[in-house]
C-alpha cells in the first residue's frame, strides 16, 4: 500500500517549551488506514497531528530535526495552502473552528479557495450537509447550533474539500453524549463510504478499538506502541502505567461488538442526613430575556452531605439551575432556600462562603499571576485577617498538592490544564464552602487526570462537603455520585439514587447517559 505519511527521525520543540515535545519519531501511515492515536495529556498527540498537516513547522515557531513527508511533500518546504487543501484537520473546540457567520458560508470558505464555480460549490455544500445530517441548516448562525452540530459543520466543511487524509483531534472531547454519538456516527459513514486515510485522536478507548485497525500510543513525545488493535489490549501493564482506561468488558472479552457500558458502582461512604435540606427549591421557573424558558416549575431538595450528579442533554437547564443555587440568577417565579433562608437575603459575596463554584474552563476563573495570589484572592475580597489567610493558604496548597508547582512555575499561565483545574478548585475551597459545585470536571481530560480529580472530590465528600457536579461522563456518574438529578427541557424528570438510575434504561435515554 502507498505510504501517505512518513516521519523520519523527527523531533520538535516549541519555542516556549523546555523539552522536546516529539522525540525521534519514526512512523509510516499507509493509504486507507484508520489510525487511532492515544496517550496521556501532554504526550504530543495534537503536536503529531499538526506535523502531518504542516502547521508545524510552516506556521509555528520552534526547533526541528528530521522531516515529515506527507503525500509526497516534505512539510518543511511544502506550501501550507496545498497541504491544507489535501489534508483536513478537525480540532477539539467546536466554537473556535467556526469562522463565518452562517453554516453555508463556513462550508463555502474552503471551496472558494479551491477555485470552484458556484454550481459546484452549491452541490458540495448540499452533499456535505447531507453527509453530516444537517440538511436545511445552511442559513443557521453558530449561536443557533449546539456543540455537536458545530463540530458536524466543521467535519462537513473539511469533507466538502475532498481531502485525502482526514485527521480528527479529540473531536468529541467538548461535547455532550448526544454530540459524541453524532460525531461517531458520521465517522462510521465516512469510513464506510470513502477510501480515506483517517487519523483519530481520542481518549475513548471503546471507539478507538471499534474503528481503528492500528493504534499508536504516545507518551512524553515518544511512541510506546505502534501496532494492530488486537495487540493493543494485550499490553495491560503499559496501558495502566500510562493511565489509559480499559473498560471491563474489553479487558475481559477483548474487542467486543457489545459496547454497552457497564461499570461497577463505587461503594464508598455515603454521608447524608435526610432531615436537613441544605438547598430547597420550590416551583422555580426561569425565562431568559430572549424568551427561552430554561426552568419550568422545578421543586427539589438537596440534602447535606450528598454527592449529586446533575445530568441531561445540552440546553436542559442544568447550568441555569446551578446559578440559582449560588445566587448568580435570582428566581423569577418560585423560591430558593439555602440553609432554610431565602436566597434573596444573601448577597452574592455571602454566598461565596456557602457555595463554591468551579467552572468548566479553569481559564475563566484564574485571575492572578501567581498561585499564592490566586488562592488568596477570594479571602482578600472577603476581608479575612492576614493570619487566617496565611493559615488557610497553607492548608489548601498541601491538600491539593500544589506546593511543588508554586516553586517550579513563576506564573499560573505556565501551568498545564489539569493543574490549572486543581488550582481553580483550591481557590474556591479555600473559602471553605459547605457546598461545592463543579461544572463538567472531566471534559478534555485523560483517564488518569479524571481519577485524580474525582478522588479529591470524593475525599471532600467524606469530609462532609455536599458535592454537586454537572457531568456527561457515565463513568463519573456511576463511580462517584450517590444521587442523580435528571433534567430535560427545563423540567425536573427525577431525582433518585444512582443505583436505581443505572437500572433504568428509560431514564438513561432521557438523560443521554450512554454513548449508544
Amino acid at each position: 500500500m502507498k505510504t501517505v505519511v512518513e516521519f523520519n527521525d523527527f523531533s520538535w520543540k516549541y519555542k516556549a517549551s523546555k523539552d522536546l515535545v516529539l522525540k525521534s519519531i519514526n512512523l509510516k501511515i499507509s493509504q486507507g488506514e484508520f489510525i487511532g492515536i492515544m496517550g496521556p495529556t501532554g504526550a504530543g498527540k495534537s503536536t503529531l497531528c499538526c506535523c502531518i498537516n504542516g502547521l508545524i513547522p510552516l506556521r509555528t515557531r520552534g526547533w526541528i530535526k528530521g522531516n515529515v513527508e506527507v503525500l509526497g511533500k516534505n512539510t518543511r518546504t511544502a506550501k501550507m495552502t496545498e497541504l491544507g487543501q489535501r489534508i483536513g484537520l478537525v480540532f477539539q473546540d467546536p466554537e473556535t473552528q467556526f469562522i463565518m457567520i452562517t453554516v453555508e458560508d463556513e462550508i463555502a470558505l474552503g471551496l472558494e479557495t479551491l477555485g470552484l464555480d458556484r454550481v459546484e460549490i452549491k452541490k458540495r455544500i448540499e452533499w456535505a450537509l447531507k453527509l453530516v445530517g444537517l440538511e436545511g441548516f445552511e442559513q443557521k448562525s453558530p449561536d443557533e447550533l449546539s456543540g455537536g452540530q458545530k463540530q458536524r459543520v466543521a467535519i462537513a466543511s473539511i469533507m466538502a474539500m475532498r481531502p485525502e487524509i482526514l485527521i480528527l483531534d479529540e473531536p468529541t472531547s467538548d461535547l455532550d453524549p448526544i454530540g459524541k454519538y453524532e460525531i461517531i456516527e458520521i465517522l462510521e459513514e465516512i469510513r464506510k463510504e470513502f477510501d480515506l486515510t483517517i487519523i483519530l485522536v481520542s481518549h475513548i478507548t471503546e471507539k478507538i478499538v471499534q474503528f481503528c485497525n492500528r493504534i499508536i500510543l504516545l507518551d512524553n513525545g515518544e511512541i510506546r506502541f505502534n501496532g494492530a488493535t488486537s495487540e493493543f489490549l494485550k499490553h495491560k501493564e503499559l496501558l495502566n502505567k500510562l493511565g489509559i482506561y480499559i473498560p471491563i468488558h474489553l479487558s475481559q472479552n477483548g474487542i467486543s461488538k457489545n459496547l454497552k457500558f457497564s461499570e461497577q458502582i463505587s461503594t464508598g461512604k455515603y454521608v447524608t442526613t435526610e432531615q436537613d435540606p441544605i438547598i430547597e427549591i420550590s416551583n422555580l421557573s426561569f425565562t431568559y430575556p430572549n424568551n427561552t424558558q430554561a426552568l419550568k416549575d422545578i421543586s427539589l431538595k438537596i440534602f447535606n452531605g450528598d454527592f449529586i450528579s446533575i445530568i441531561g442533554k445540552n440546553g436542559s437547564g442544568k447550568t441555569t439551575l446551578i446559578k440559582h443555587f449560588n445566587g448568580l440568577l435570582r428566581p423569577q417565579q418560585g423560591e430558593v432556600f439555602i440553609r432554610g433562608d431565602p436566597v434573596l437575603q444573601y448577597s452574592i459575596t455571602q454566598m461565596a462562603q456557602i457555595i463554591g463554584f468551579c467552572y468548566q474552563n479553569p481559564d475563566h476563573q484564574l485571575f492572578k499571576n501567581t498561585i499564592r495570589e490566586e488562592i488568596e484572592f477570594g479571602l482578600k475580597n472577603l476581608k479575612f485577617p492576614d493570619d487566617e489567610i496565611k493559615n488557610r493558604y497553607n492548608e489548601i496548597i498541601d491538600l491539593l498538592d500544589l506546593r511543588k508547582f508554586e516553586e517550579i512555575y513563576e506564573s499560573t499561565f505556565y501551568l498545564s490544564k489539569g493543574i490549572r483545574q486543581r488550582l481553580a478548585l483550591a481557590s474556591v475551597l479555600v473559602l471553605k464552602p459547605e457546598i461545592l459545585i463543579v461544572d463538567e470536571p472531566t471534559t478534555g481530560q485523560d483517564y488518569r487526570m479524571i481519577q485524580e480529580f474525582m478522588k479529591i472530590l470524593q475525599d471532600l465528600h467524606e469530609q462532609k462537603h455536599t458535592i454537586i457536579i454537572i457531568t456527561h461522563d457515565p463513568r463519573v456518574i456511576a463511580q462517584y455520585s450517590k444521587t442523580v438529578i435528571i433534567l430535560d427541557d427545563g423540567n425536573l424528570i427525577q431525582k433518585l439514587p444512582t443505583s436505581e438510575f443505572l437500572k433504568n434504561e428509560e431514564l438513561q435515554k432521557i438523560a443521554a447517559y450512554t454513548l449508544q
Binding site: 470558505l109 460549490i121 448577597s347 476563573q365
Partner: protein
C-alpha cells in the same frame, strides 16, 4: 430594505453620512433627520422599540453637552444675549448665535446616530460582508471583518462569565471603591487577553488547515447578488443628493430655504 442589494444599503448609510457633514443649516438637518427616520420606518427598522429607545434617549441627553461647549466655553456674539458673565478670565456668553451653532452640531450627531441605528439594525453582518465582496474588496479584509463580528459576540460572553466567576469569589463590583474596581478590571482584562490569544491560535489553525492563503488570486465567490434596477436608481439618487449638497455647501445656501424660494 431587506430586498435591496447589500451595497445599496451600505451606500444609503455612508452617502447620507457625508450629506450630514455637509449640511450646516439647522432646518436642513432637521429635515434630514425626519427623512432618515421615515426611511428607517419604511425599512421596518424598529427605531422606537424598547431596545433602541433607551439608547436613543441616552444619546439625546448626553449629546446636549455640546451646548456646554458652545455656550460656556466659546463666547459667540449674537443678536440676542441671554446670559453673560465673567469668572476671572473665563467669559461665559449665551447668545442666540451660540445656541444656533450648538444646535447645528447637536443635530449633526443625532443624524449620524440615527444613521448608525439604520446601519446596525438594517444591515446584517452578512449583508456587510457580501456587499463588500460584491465591490471586490479583498477576501482577506472581509474575513477579518467577519471575525471581528464573531469576536464581538464571543468576548461579550466571555466577559460575563469571567465577571460572574469573580463574583463567586467575593468580588462586589457595584459596591467597590474606585481603586478596587480598577484592580478588579485588571484581573478581568488579563483573563480576556489570555483567552483572546488562545482563541487566536485555534481560529488561525482552523483557517490555515483549510489551505486558505493570505492573498487569494484564484478565489471564486459563492454568493452572487445581482444589482437590480432599483438599486441603481437609489444609488444614483443618493449621489445626486450628495453632489447637490456639496454644491449648496460651496455656495453657502440652505436646502430648505432654496426649496422655499423656488416654491
Amino acid at each position: 430594505m431587506t430586498k435591496l442589494h447589500p451595497i445599496t444599503k451600505i451606500s444609503i448609510v455612508f452617502i447620507l453620512s457625508f450629506v450630514v457633514l455637509l449640511f450646516s443649516n439647522v432646518f436642513d438637518l432637521i429635515c434630514l433627520l425626519i427623512l432618515i427616520i421615515i426611511l428607517g420606518l419604511l425599512a421596518k427598522i424598529p427605531i422606537f422599540s424598547r431596545k433602541f429607545r433607551k439608547i436613543i434617549i441616552g444619546i439625546l441627553i448626553s449629546s446636549l453637552s455640546i451646548y456646554i461647549v458652545w455656550c460656556f466655553f466659546t463666547p459667540v456674539e449674537g443678536d440676542i444675549i441671554f446670559f453673560e458673565t465673567w469668572v476671572g478670565n473665563w467669559h461665559i456668553l449665551i447668545s442666540d448665535q451660540s445656541i444656533y451653532i450648538a444646535s447645528r452640531y447637536y443635530l449633526r450627531i443625532i443624524n449620524m446616530f440615527f444613521l448608525m441605528i439604520f446601519f446596525f439594525a438594517g444591515i446584517s453582518d452578512r449583508d456587510l460582508i457580501h456587499g463588500l465582496r460584491s465591490i471586490k474588496v479583498p477576501f482577506t479584509v472581509t474575513l477579518i471583518i467577519s471575525m471581528t463580528f464573531r469576536g464581538l459576540s464571543m468576548f461579550q460572553q466571555e466577559y460575563s462569565i469571567v465577571r460572574e466567576a469573580m463574583m463567586t469569589r467575593g468580588v462586589e463590583f457595584e459596591r467597590a471603591s474606585i481603586p478596587k474596581r480598577i484592580k478588579n478590571f485588571i484581573s478581568i482584562f488579563i483573563v480576556l487577553i489570555v483567552l483572546m490569544f488562545k482563541k487566536t491560535e485555534d481560529m488561525a489553525a482552523s483557517i490555515e488547515s483549510r489551505g486558505i492563503p493570505l492573498r487569494s488570486k484564484n478565489r471564486t465567490t459563492y454568493h452572487y447578488f445581482p444589482i437590480k434596477k432599483k438599486d441603481y436608481a437609489i444609488i444614483i439618487g443618493l449621489f445626486i443628493l450628495l453632489f447637490f449638497s456639496i454644491y449648496l455647501s460651496l455656495i453657502n445656501k440652505s436646502f430648505v430655504f432654496l426649496f422655499l424660494e423656488l416654491f
